[in-house]
Amino acid sequence: MSETEQTKIQVRGLSKVFGNHPKKALELRDKGMKRPEILEKTGQTLGLSNITFDVQEGELLVIMGLSGSGKSTLIRCLNRLIEPTEGDIIIDGENIPKLSEKALLECRRRHFSMVFQHFALFPHRSVQMNAEFGLEIRGIDKAERAKKAREALSHVGLDGWEDAMPSQLSGGMQQRVGLARALANDSSVLLMDEAFSALDPLIRKDMQQELLELQHRMKKTTIFITHDLDEALAIADRIILLKDGEIVQIGTPEEIMTHPADDYVARFTEGVDISRILTARHAMRPVRALARNDDGPRTVLHKLSENGLDSIYVTDRERKLLGLVEADAANRAAREGQRSIEDLISDDFPRVGPDEPLHNLFAMFNEKSYPIAVVDEERRLLGVVVKGAVLAQLAEAGEQ
């Protein structure tokens, strides 16, 4: 997420009561009663209570909760497939709950496309015609919608399947069609309702990866619902945790993992392998000593012995990482009277990006046990990770 982000959707005080006397239920809610009491007293089910959050332009927001937590209700309130009882949902200046029937249709066409848990493909339409559906509804002309639908199908890797019927496709491919149908529509927000939950685990992982790539390419504002924390952590920019129709916590995956708001969240996160969430950035330490490429062998030897090191990373003036020099090599060069260390720099060292999950780092600590260099996209050295630091970080997170 960039720093200069814009708010796409503002949800303010959104509530939903299922039943004929919503006012009564909301009154009791305002007196501090919870869902079970309200149900017992009034027979009304408090589906959502006072939900407030923002969705940033281009982010992938995951709404997570167990079944009955209200997540499906919440996503359907956004485009009013379910009529909210109170509250505001503001998208590009329009307040969705206040829209007239006609304006609502227009709003759904322009702003929302949805991907469903059980795909909800139209069985009487070919893959191509399914992908064209949203555009057809909007009255886009034939050639234009055929082109856009083909592009969307191509985005999700379904080239050549245009004429197939949905029933001929596997579950994973059917959901690709569902995704293509949503993408072709070119709406500003993508709503995904447990979109991958009906797929088997391997396909599911693939689809998550592909969604991330698509999201990276297209920067589409996405609201993704899931009951699966692993899935949420794998794809989310931010996570909203729902329980009994209320928000328990909003935060990045790391915040949720490392600082769970209450026991409920903590129990949720218990089963998760922390090393998949924490990244190299968390375990990274500043570099204690660094050689420059215009240093001579003796300077390097001095830095090594001063810091008690066997090897040292070498950068240029812009702090770009060039490689690593070992103490043995520097010693030999100093004895032989070489003036430069350029020839000593070895390229055989481990390096990762700052977002590399910690569990990928274990395998990289080889026998020589060089610290792992953490570099950014321009190859600038950000820090190093030593074996002990990884373990320490995991232990610390585990205690919390």
Partner: protein
């Protein structure tokens, strides 16, 4: 012991109502009568104008295209038998009545069925009426038909439409209500209007069920068209009726077999249409 409870004159009220309708709306009924009779005559003339073998060939071709060789051969053999028994023209007359009654029934049933599917209120209103229409003994419809439209084929059509329409309405309603909820939701989510939702999603998906209803309507129409011989409708029913009056079981069975052949032909044809649309 008998307690003298005054009899509720339900029958008298109905008769008074029917009298009122026939006398006050005779222009309407006569208009309907004329239009319907014209339709019947035109279709009859067209079908009878063709030589028997030509119509047989057309029907066989239709069977072959829609279903396959087996139905084509079966249809040809059956029609040849009817021709051979000298029942060709009565068969055509019955076919005409069935076709026209079914058309009228479907034209009314589709919008009514769609409305009943979309509105719970209308559904609650129409369902008891349909129960009434279906369980009332079929003969009863013949009686008011005569004062409305006089003796003959138009009355037969009127009674047949009322008797045969309910399945088409019911199946249309059922078909639309059975469209999976998530598909309707998907249509809504993309911003479909009611009309778009109906035309692009609900109707295409309920078509097999609607066709099953129309198939039922055709079968009921055929059975009613035969009974309608009692009020002077032409066709195979008339042959049966004559055989009863003259006590000639042979003639009666011949006409009966012709009805069975026609029924099987119509049934198989509409069924294959249903299946081909589903695939």
């Amino acid at each position: 012991m008998a307690i003298d409870i005054p009899r509720i004159p339900l029958g008298d009220w109905i008769e008074a109502g029917l009298d009122f309708l026939t006398s006050e709306y005779s222009i309407v009924t006569r208009g309907i009568s004329r239009v319907t009779q014209t339709g019947i005559n035109a279709l009859n003339d067209a079908l009878m104008w063709m030589p028997e073998w030509a119509l047989m060939a057309i029907i066989a071709l239709l069977c072959w295209r829609l279903s396959g060789v087996r139905l084509a051969i079966g249809a040809s053999l059956g029609l040849a038998l009817i021709w051979n028994m000298g029942l060709w023209f009565p068969m055509i007359e019955s076919l005409t009545l069935v076709v026209i009654a079914t058309l009228v029934a479907v034209v009314i049933a589709l919008p009514v069925g769609i409305l009943a599917a979309l509105s719970d209120k209308f559904y609650g209103l129409i369902m008891p009426i349909l129960d009434f229409m279906q369980t009332m003994p079929a003969f009863v419809y013949l009686i008011p038909a005569i004062p409305f439209f006089g003796i003959g084929s138009v009355s037969a059509i009127f009674a047949t439409v009322i008797f045969a329409m309910p399945p088409a309405i019911r199946f249309t309603t059922l078909g639309i209500r059975q469209v999976p909820k998530d598909l309707v939701e998907a249509a809504d989510a993309f911003g479909s209007t009611r009309g778009q939702k109906l035309v692009k999603v609900q109707l295409p998906l309920s078509l097999p069920t609607i066709m099953a209803g129309i198939n039922q309507t055709i079968m009921l129409a055929l059975s009613m068209v035969v009974i309608a011989a009692m009020i002077g409708a032409d066709g195979l029913g008339n042959e049966v009726w004559k055989a009863i009056q003259r006590l000639r079981p042979g003639d009666g069975f011949e006409a009966g077999i012709a009805v069975v052949i026609l029924a099987m032909l119509l049934d198989r044809l509409t069924q294959t249409f249903r299946k081909t649309r589903k695939a």
